[in-house]
């Protein structure tokens, strides 16, 4: 391969091959291969170690017994399981507030995507996308501060009080009395946090609609809304579903905002205006004061959360993959 030249090489030597460089390529290949494997290794090690460390809990209650148990009462032991550990109140809360968050964020995201792609003037499109992407960059502790001192007293609390006072308040789902820290408050705040990623995915798939199809619909005399409703939305449907799933994944794992807004109650009330708890919130709020056996319990909760989010994310990625990869700040 390498050419042996007796002459001094002319010009830049950095691109010139040499006999010594023969090992360069295989070494380079193995190095980058190793780096790529690190992703899989890290994921595997994290999963393995947390599962091993939470084994005492799973052995005591059984995997499904742990998931279905509805009492969480920690013991003080350093070496054995003396308390009772059931994940159900936290799973219930996590799922409930994620559903609320998605129910608020997805319609909003679809509206925003249609607006930025179809309605807004060309010069305004980029700034609008940037504004939504910037929302993704705001640290969640900052959103938590604003949630405590602005959104809960001035936004979620009035809405909750109003809904409870309407006939809707008769339904168990909207029953009062409205509490300030509740599934609804947490869900609304989390919807703000998942909005960017859902928007990024739907915007991208809507933008992938073939120009010819849109133009054909316009040429047939369709109005702008009809084009959106009958051409762009059906085309972007897989993206909408995938984006929603990604949003669910994020909502399940959101910590700071939920820890400060969900209320830390294991009552599992039916109403969305009651205080509750979530997996992430209980880990964050109780970790610092936990006994060793309670930390096993928190690790078991972490494994549960990991399984839930990974399942949702794999599903979401499989759906999104069919409609192409999504680029943009908010998509990562």
């Amino acid at each position: 391969m390498s050419t042996q030249t007796p002459l001094e090489p002319s010009g830049p030597t950095s691109l010139r091959a040499s006999g010594r460089g023969r090992w360069g390529d295989p070494v380079f290949r193995w190095a980058v291969l190793g780096a790529a494997s690190s992703v899989l290794i890290i994921l595997g090690v994290m999963m393995f170690r947390t599962t091993i460390d939470s084994m005492p809990i799973f052995r005591e209650f059984g995997f499904f017994g742990f998931l279905a148990g509805d009492t969480w009462s920690t013991g003080q032991s350093r070496s054995e399981v003396t308390g009772e550990y059931g994940a159900w109140p936290f799973i219930y809360g996590t799922v409930k507030l994620s559903v609320i968050a998605v129910a608020i964020a997805v319609p909003l995201a679809i509206g925003i995507s249609l607006f930025t792609n179809e309605v807004a003037p060309k010069w305004l499109r980029k700034p609008l996308s940037y504004a939504i992407d910037t929302l993704a960059m705001i640290p969640s502790i900052v959103i938590a501060v604003v949630a405590i001192f602005f959104f809960i007293p001035y936004v979620t609390d009035p809405i909750a009080r109003f809904l409870v006072s309407t006939p809707l308040g008769e339904l168990p789902f909207f029953a009062g009395p409205a509490q300030r820290q509740s599934y609804f408050s947490a869900g609304l705040m989390v919807s703000i946090m998942i909005l960017p990623i859902v928007t990024a995915v739907t915007r991208e798939t809507f933008a992938n609609t073939p120009e010819d199809e849109r133009n054909a619909a316009y040429a047939m005399g369709a109005t702008r809304w009809e084009v959106m409703r009958h051409v762009i939305v059906p085309r972007g449907f897989p993206g909408m579903v995938g984006g929603t799933m990604l949003g669910v994944g994020r909502a399940l794992g959101e910590t700071m905002v939920v820890a400060f807004t969900v209320g830390s109650s294991q009552r599992m009330g039916a109403s969305i205006f009651f205080g509750g708890d979530a997996i992430t919130a209980v880990i964050f709020n109780t970790f610092a004061t936990s006994s060793p056996e309670a930390i096993w319990g928190l690790l078991a909760l972490g494994v549960t959360l990991f399984l839930m989010t990974t399942f949702v994310n794999i599903l979401a990625r499989l759906i999104v993959m069919r409609s192409g990869r999504v680029v943009g700040d908010a998509a990562v």
Binding site: F28, A35, T50
Partner: protein
């Protein structure tokens, strides 16, 4: 507006079934109105999406005035949350230290993984790596914190290094993804030209492809750093927090972080501590947004 009916012609067609082109279709006006109304609904959604951002920025700026200032940036927090004055110097130091260490660990590895995916990645293994990188972006940060706690903190106790490992695991998929996207955009002609001149694969990659994708890759790295700097949840499990400036790489007694200090301040019912938490929010948002904006400016100057 809510019922979706088949288009119905209100005006009867002439007996011969023809209609002048000047004549509007019977329901055209209704369809147009409907389109206009729903466009307004979409505008409402857009406003609904931008409003939270405006509210958050406004609230942070409006409320951080009481504690923010030179003293806040240059002093350590007083021991009591009831005392006014003092600042988050230790938190800022901790955030920069931890995030910087995480970046040093992640960036070479992430870019190398991205190089594998673009330059050698056609096979099934690359598909798996790509897929699980995407999945890894969705792993909850608190789980990363728990895992690092179980793996490292139980051995080394709390500190900067353990916090940095947690942040680095959060950054890794972001760096890999964005770097891969950018490397993928480098035209194949550049690679072919370099290979045709006799350069080896690694020389081509490191000296031609990577510099060409440079600005984009740097953008991705900065976004990942911004994301990691704003993380708090994994740090409570790995860095724990500290009340003074900690310079040790792994002291065993924890490292401070702006987010952790804000959390502590918010949990106390005392106004001075809460005011400092607001000011900490402003600091954090300035760090993150500065990184994001610079990243975007670099990206705009990118040649590819």
């Amino acid at each position: 507006m809510t019922t979706d009916t088949m288009p119905q012609t209100d005006a009867p067609l002439p007996p011969d079934g023809t209609r002048s082109l000047h004549e509007l279709e019977g329901n055209a006006r209704r369809r147009k109105r409907r389109s206009r109304v729903l466009t307004m609904v979409l505008l409402g959604a857009m406003i609904g999406g931008v409003t939270p951002l405006v509210i958050i920025l406004w609230q942070i700026i409006a409320n951080s005035g009481a504690a923010f200032g030179w003293e806040f940036l240059s002093q350590v927090e007083p021991l009591s949350y009831r005392e006014t004055g003092g600042g988050y110097l230790h938190g800022m130091w901790g955030t920069v230290y931890t995030t910087g260490m995480a970046a040093i660990m992640t960036v070479p590895m992430g870019i190398a993984a991205a190089i594998y995916l673009t330059e050698y990645g056609g096979g099934r293994f690359a598909f798996f790596v790509r897929f699980f990188t995407d999945v890894m972006t969705g792993v909850p940060s608190i789980f990363v914190g728990l895992a690092v706690y179980a793996i490292l903190v139980t051995q080394l106790r709390f500190g900067t290094f353990t916090g940095a490992v947690a942040l680095s695991i959060i950054m890794l998929p972001i760096v890999v993804r964005t770097a891969e996207e950018m490397l993928y955009l480098v035209p194949p002609d550049l690679r072919n030209a370099s290979l045709a001149l006799g350069a080896r694969r690694w020389q081509t990659t490191l000296k031609v492809v990577l510099p060409a994708a440079g600005p984009g890759v740097i953008t991705g790295v900065m976004l990942a750093v911004a994301r990691a700097a704003g993380e708090t949840a994994p740090l409570v499990l790995t860095a724990l927090g500290a009340r003074t400036v900690v310079t040790a790489i792994q002291g065993g007694n924890g490292q401070a972080d702006i987010g952790l200090l804000m959390t502590d301040g918010l949990r106390q019912p005392f106004a001075p501590g809460i005011e400092r938490a607001w000011a900490g929010g402003l600091t954090l948002i300035m760090i993150v947004l500065a990184l994001t904006i610079v990243a975007r400016l670099i990206n705009q100057r990118s040649q590819i």
